[in-house]
Symmetry: C2
């Protein structure tokens, strides 16, 4: 089915992060992997004799026979490799220059440099994993907090895939019976009453609804929570930030692709990633440049999952700023944070907010609890529950549900089984897209192109 | 000898460069490596049964049994490992978060996080390589151009070490005979005439001189050539730079530790790394801030190995600026570059410089040739020659030579063989420092501390 995009040539790529380190790994996969590596490696290896999953020490040379480095090569024989093809991993000294030279020698020797995600795409093509699992590989690599790791693991372990396959099987079983009915229509044998079909469809719909509902939690798990911090100048935003960073055992790593000038920090609270966004520009603009800042801050607030609306507890509540924010986002996503608790002695002004002292740390635990509570307000899921965290899966589930609703309508309108079966088959296909049973080439390409090179 | 700094506990470290990629590798080495990994890994592995150099697929969990990731573990049994100890390399999905979690699980399980260079230090301690070879490992990782790679490979292959050992052997042989002479002094048996001893010492000195002489080339190989580009504003420095970058098939990578605001670019010409430094501040200062710039630019010129003095061929030669530069550095290290060759028709103004057009690319090849010629004016060496590229080795060779000169003086002054032998032993010890036969703990620590973590 995927002939159009499956290529069986031999690919190579540097698989470790770019930079200097102790080790770099260069991956090779494809039907000529052994042949190409053998030509560059000494001592001479007889790959036919070598066992899979063994490691060999030697020197790798460029196409002119000039030694590049001492390396270890790990040999994986098809189908017992990540891609399912013959594969070699070359472990070299960790200079990017050396890694590039080895990659260049491999391409000179007959490899093609791999596209992003091409190793995983091959694993998918060769049935080593389904599409949802392949996507989980990318999520795993991007995971930066406990929850995103758990979510990706859950999906890689096939928990979502198993659930999707259960639902597909239910639909196939029922639609087969409906189709059988068609064949025997003239003989008046009824395998299944329309009422039963309708009930089976309802059962699938309610399972799909559960999955759809899990998405808001899954999204939090996978992508974290976007938190905009709003407040007048000097209410203590940076003190709060320092406290958050210290108390949250922050996982702070380089994040390619995020707009560094807007994200202030990422913190992990009980394993959930909170991305803190600055909205310093959110006040009345005095000039053109400030207006630009206001505009950007408004966008930040609009797209945030949560607002920390921070005020100075010893000052009057900034009603006007609050009104501006409340117009941009659902009020229930706002947490009012009253800072400088140490300066006041009437905590009854709280009005549903959290009283903290960013200076002394009072109330921070309560703030964490509230942030986590809001982040997981859609419910939590056990590690063994199927959870949807990917918008592509969410859309496919919705599409499947729509076909099932149409099937119910078809039943209600007393159309023939032919139409009912067609709707159910479409619903099943929509589910199949999630695990890659039926997925257009461009969707596949789109998925894998967002992987890093070498995976 | 090294008991004081050799620790036989089990160490672990992330060995791949920091960041996101397809794969990260976490290294474990030490006598409990198998035991600790076995406790975190499933399926259960019986390391006693497993062969060295084999790879095993499974899941690695944290100390609470929570799965962190699917991994491949590579098993190396002592002494057949990099360190010479039992070792495991854990290859995980390339998220830094996952790598950190695995490292944390290993430390919770009984490993200690490795110091920088500690794996290589253990390799040295266990006799897997000598000290010069260990240093070559760091050079190899830092290599960013063909010449530095060649130099490090040469040293890792033990070519310098073999030469040093030859010289040590010569000294030991002679001094043994001199010492033997002492024992038999009363019996009047002469094993070796003083003249012969003197000649042998001369032979060693001349070999040392060759090695000392190779240092200026070795340094170029290892560290590259610092080139300061000097010129009045608007003489075409940035056009030249663009051309250099395009024509040199530049290897440009992130270089930790360099002062990014001063280095403009690195280019590799015929495998030699040229680091181009800006000296924009080098003109008469109008104010305090400019004076600071002038000062810094003067320092850049002083410490440069080579100056590209760039002028506009269609303008009068900037005698004053040239004089300033010529006072700071040996004139023979200056290459005059006359730009805008396309604007003049009298190339006889060259005065030993190179006429180029940075705009059209004329003369760039000649400039490259001149730069390379100057860089290798100390001579070139074949790939199999012993070359000194490390200042520590250079200093040890000088020290050794000083002891040998002292020995010759001792001979000339007709001192007894006892003194001669002592000088020769000291000379031999100085050579031994290079390969780590006799090296103080603090020197060793200093060497390995400059490695990256995980190596």
């Amino acid at each position: 089915m995927f002939d159009s995009i499956y290529q069986d040539d031999t690919i190579a790529a540097i698989a470790t992060p770019f930079g200097s380190g102790a080790i770099n790994v260069i991956r090779v996969s494809g039907k000529e992997a052994f042949e190409i590596v053998a030509r560059l490696f000494s001592p001479k290896l007889d790959f036919a004799e070598i066992k899979s999953h063994t490691i060999h020490y030697g020197k790798i040379s460029d196409e002119n026979g000039k030694v590049i480095d001492d390396v270890l090569i790990s040999v994986f024989k098809n189908p017992r490799s990540y891609t399912g093809e013959d594969s070699v991993e070359i472990s070299s000294h960790g200079s990017p220059f050396i890694a590039q030279k080895i990659a260049a020698a491999l391409t000179a020797g007959g490899c093609r440099l791999a596209e992003p995600g091409e190793f995983t795409k091959r694993a998918f093509m060769n049935g080593k994993m389904d599409l949802a699992q392949a996507e989980a590989v990318a999520d795993l690599i991007n995971s930066r907090a406990e929850a995103s790791l758990r979510g990706a693991r859950n999906q890689l372990d096939g928990i979502l895939s198993a659930k999707i396959n259960d639902l597909r099987k239910m639909l196939i079983d029922v639609s087969s019976l409906v189709e059988l009915e068609l064949d025997f229509a003239e003989e008046d044998i009824e395998f299944l009453s329309l009422k039963e079909v309708d009930e089976k469809i309802d059962a699938v719909i309610s399972e799909i609804d559960l999955l759809l509902k899990s998405y808001s939690f899954g999204k939090v798990m996978r992508d974290g929570v976007n938190v905009a911090i709003v407040g007048e100048p000097n209410v203590g935003k940076s003190s709060l930030l320092n406290y958050l960073l210290k108390e949250s055992r922050a996982i702070v790593s380089d994040i390619p692709g995020t707009t560094r000038d807007v994200i202030i920090e990422e913190v992990s609270i009980d394993g959930i990633l909170f991305k803190l966004f600055d909205t310093a520009g959110l006040r009345s603009a005095k000039n053109e440049i400030e207006r630009e800042g206001v505009f950007r801050s408004k966008e930040t607030v609009k797209t945030a999952d949560m607002i920390l609306f921070m005020t100075d507890a010893s000052e009057p509540f900034p009603e006007k700023l609050f009104k501006t924010v409340a117009e941009l986002i659902n009020k229930k996503n706002i947490i009012k944070v009253f800072n400088k608790a140490d300066l006041i002695d009437e905590p009854d002004i709280l009005r549903g907010g959290v009283l903290i002292s960013a200076k002394f740390g009072d109330g921070i635990d309560e703030l964490f609890r509230r942030m986590k509570e809001k982040a997981t307000s859609a419910g939590t899921y056990s590690e063994k529950s199927a959870v949807v965290s990917n918008v592509r899966h969410f859309d496919a589930l919705k599409k499947s549900k729509d076909f099932l609703l149409k099937a119910k309508e078809t039943i209600a309108n007393n159309f023939t089984g032919e139409f009912i079966a067609a709707d159910m088959r479409n619903a099943e296909s929509a589910l199949g897209e999630i695990i890659g049973k039926v997925t257009a080439d461009d969707i596949l390409n789109n998925i894998f192109e967002n992987f890093c090179i070498g995976k």
